[in-house]
Amino acid sequence: MSAEFVFATAQYESGDWDSAPLLPANIIDTIARYTEIPVAPTGVIVPLSDARLFRYPLVYLTGHLPVRFSDTERRNVRAFVDRGGMLFIDDHNHDIDGTFHKTATEEIARTVAPLTELPNDHPLYSAFFRFDGPPTTSHELNGWGDNLVHKHLLAVQRRGRISVLYSNKDYSSEWNYHPDNKRFLSVDNTRFAVNLVVYALTA
């Protein structure tokens, strides 16, 4: 087992957990581009119900469909967060009236604690690159979802540290492309992911 950072995607039973299959590679590429952090060249997929979840202290979860944790998944998520892990959840529907958001927030409230707004001056936004808040994505106003630009991310914090980070901004769509396509972008829209990983690795 090496000391590299490994990007982990959560697999859960109730929904389409793999709706952003290119996101892991993209983020890995971003980490390598901007930092010296040793990172594994491919990501892993880890079931929430599996004990191997605890090998990856930062886990990414997304989907469109309802999120309903099984008892084992709930136990694991709770223990994962208690021990210092961080769960990053992104609503791939970017719809606060949608079923993913309603069910995922309910599950997190039931499993960990209710989500609250994360202030935009949180250290997460200055962990590597400077942001004034969560970067807006090109999908938030694309006609689908709730058509809102969400000004805040939501989080569950334990003694001042983020243990669950929740996004309505559809970073899953924003970052779900092959890293080679970055060359077509004038501004790399995955930079916020560096903040996320650096925050997780140091906070």
Binding site: I45, D50, H64, F128
Partner: protein, 678 residues
């Protein structure tokens, strides 16, 4: 009236006198005991249990005394005895009456004067009643002289009668003290009263009323930041508080007198719900039919309602629509509930690719902190798309891999059991031949299971039999098992999956167990020993069933692998980040160290004042109830032991409390300076 009739009348009067006398003496005995208990209780308070027992003893004593007197005078039923008694008092009869009774000859009693006999009997009866009557009156006077509350505590002991105790010091109005607990109506729990409350466990939302004797002026209860004044109730005072979810230490004061009452709230847990039908997720080829639903819900107090909820997700890619609904709603008031319903798939107008998520939800009747909601696990029913591989697992459809194996293995077990049963009657060659035939089937089944395992790992099927001599093929069972074992169990590489593998590794462990067991079984069967094979076969069956019940499979394709060339990408980004600041984490043990200091302080105080130490421990217990239940529990024991002066029990409880708070010491059997490293 004849002499004999008169005799019988006299006997009746005497009998009545005996019973009356016995009753009076019995009553006197019982009342005396009650009076003695009341006086003893007035001097030194007697516990409730003891008073209940003494009351029973008083009643029994009365009965025993009465019966004793009846037994002593039992001969009064006999006519000849009565006759003798009359003869003693009327000498003029000259034993004619006795003779007549003994001989049964009433003619001897002709012309006998009998009118005095009844009078004699009445005099006798009344005179014998005087003494017990006088004693009873005296006992009653004594009882009446005692305060009514004191008598009631002895005659009708009950919880909460401390206030009726004789008062020794009128100055301290918070001793004695009674607490009345009225749980919320929805819980169905009964009201209870507690004498001398120190440590009370009560449901959140209950009304706690503290009562004492005397006027209410100047009596205050302080709980957290709230101060409540006592109100008057006849010759008593009372303070009423509502119990919230936060543990409380109520400080009750009356001038310089202080009492601490710890209140531990019992939180109403949400209902536990288990969805019993459908048993597992399914994929349906045709979205029609009726799906039976069943669930069970239990609650610690009362369930208010329960229902099934469903969410239908339609769409694919980035476009999804959802609709949801509720069915089978029932209302209840009991602690357990079974609900059932039928979901008509036709009514949902499902299309290929749609997914129905089902679960059962129950709400309890908690109207204090809001109804607790419990939900079951969710089942997903997916409608297969056209052209997509599906396994159908509902009702009459073909069972998936594991279930086919279950049917086969079960059949093989039945065959082996039948053969083993007939074995004594069959020839050795026949047994071996039949056993071998079962072994062949077992071997085929084992290969089928192996195919399932290895296919899921991305390997080729029939890895055992392939004659390819390439080094990748396992040559022996051990090698193959080791490969499969290492692939399923461990991963040296940080990346858990490669190529097009499906990430369902967790399910393979039971199937691998089944595979191993089948191997052992087929070996025994080939040797012609079905009896030795049966335990292995049953183990294989259990493992397959475990695989069936294992984590549900969500059959979707694996994402296309993209491998990043890290070295090529390293530090190629145009933008540069900036250094940032990390915020310090708060100590997790700061509360622990504060509590440890308070515990030490309480132990210090215990040397000089046990009541003060007990109060300190009680306050610390309230503080720790929410997040350190083991510590709080040990403190409760310690406070009780300190209060009653049991040094050994207090020491033991304090040691337990300390271990629960700060952990056990670490011992190393060497004097090394580095010995502090655990």
């Amino acid at each position: 009236m004849s002499a004999l009739d008169r005799l019988r009348r006299v006997r009746g009067v005497l009998i009545a006198g005996v019973f009356l006398r016995a009753a009076l003496w019995g009553t006197f005995a019982a009342i005396s005991m009650i009076a003695i208990v009341a006086i003893a209780d007035a001097i030194a308070p007697v516990g409730l249990n003891v008073r209940v027992v003494l009351r029973v003893i008083a009643i029994l004593a009365g009965l025993v005394v009465g019966l004793t007197f009846v037994w002593r005078d039992r001969r009064v039923r006999e006519l000849d005895r009565v006759a003798l008694w009359i003869e003693e008092r009327v000498p003029a009869l000259s034993f004619a009456l006795v003779t007549a009774v003994e001989l049964g000859d009433p003619t001897l009693l002709v012309d006998m004067r009998t009118s005095d006999w009844t009078t004699l009997a009445w005099h006798r009866g009344l005179s014998r009643l005087l003494t017990p009557l006088a004693a009873l009156v005296a006992a009653t006077v004594v009882l009446l002289a005692l305060p009514s509350g004191v008598v009631a505590r002895a005659a009708a002991p009950r919880r909460g009668d401390s206030l009726s105790r004789a008062s020794r010091t009128a100055a301290n109005r918070i001793d004695p003290l009674v607490a009345e607990l009225r749980p919320p109506v929805y819980s169905g729990a009964r009201r209870q009263e507690i004498d001398e409350p120190r440590d009370v466990r009560v449901l959140v939302g209950s009304v706690l009323t503290l009562r004492g004797r005397g006027d209410a002026g100047g009596i205050i209860a302080i709980a957290s930041a709230d101060t409540t004044l006592a109100s008057a109730d006849a010759d008593r005072w009372q303070i009423t508080l509502r119990v919230s979810a936060k543990p409380l230490a109520i400080r009750l004061t009356d001038g310089t007198h202080v009492r601490i009452i710890a209140v531990e709230p019992i939180v109403d847990a949400p209902p536990q719900v288990a969805l019993t039908l459908p048993v597992h997720d399914s994929v349906l080829r045709v979205p029609s039919g009726r799906l039976p639903l069943a669930a069970e819900a239990t609650d610690d107090y009362a369930i208010a309602s329960a229902s099934f909820e469903y969410i239908v997700s339609s769409g694919e890619g980035e476009t999804f629509t959802f609709k949801s609904g509720v069915l089978g709603a029932v209302h209840s008031s009991g602690k357990q509930l079974k609900l059932s319903a039928t979901l008509s798939l036709d009514s949902l107008h499902l299309k290929p690719g749609d997914i129905v998520h089902l679960r059962a939800v129950a709400r309890d009747a908690n109207d204090v902190t809001g109804p607790g909601v419990g939900a079951s696990e969710t089942r997903a029913i997916r409608i297969a798309r056209a052209g997509e591989y599906d396994s159908v697992a509902v009702d009459a459809a073909a069972p998936p891999d594991a279930e086919q194996n279950v049917v086969s293995e079960r059949m093989l077990i039945m065959l082996a059991e039948a053969l083993e049963k007939q074995r004594p009657r069959l020839a050795r060659d026949s047994v071996r031949h039949e056993s071998h035939a079962i072994g062949v089937d077992q071997k085929k089944l084992r290969r089928a299971v192996g195919d399932v395992v290895f296919t899921r790992l991305g390997g080729a099927p029939t890895g055992e039999e392939h004659t390819d001599e390439s080094p990748e093929r396992a040559k022996t069972m051990q090698e193959m098992l080791a490969r499969a074992d290492s692939a399923t169990n461990r991963s040296i590489d940080p990346v858990d999956f490669e190529g097009g593998e499906s990430p369902v590794v967790a399910v393979n462990k039971p199937l691998l167990e089944a595979y191993n067991a089948m191997w052992d079984a087929s070996t025994a069967l080939e040797l012609g020993d079905p009896g030795a094979a049966l335990p292995h076969m049953r183990r294989a069956l259990a493992a397959i069933q475990k695989a069936r019940a294992a984590e549900r499979l969500y059959l979707r394709g694996a994402p296309p692998p993209v491998v990043i060339d890290i070295d090529k990408a390293r530090l190629k980004g145009k933008d540069k980040g900036a250094s940032s600041t990390r915020r310090p984490e708060m100590p997790i043990d700061s509360v622990t160290s504060i509590r440890a200091n308070r515990l030490d302080h309480a132990i210090e105080i215990a040397r000089t004042s046990s009541s003060a130490a007990a109060d300190s421990l009680l306050l610390l217990r309230v503080d720790a109830l929410a997040d350190a239940p083991a510590f709080a529990s040990a403190l409760g024991d310690a406070a009780a032991a300190v209060r009653r002066g049991d040094g050994a029990a207090a020491t033991d409880a304090l040691a337990r409390a300390r271990r629960a708070l700060v952990g056990a010491p670490i011992v190393r059997d060497s004097l090394s300076r580095w010995g502090i490293i655990p």
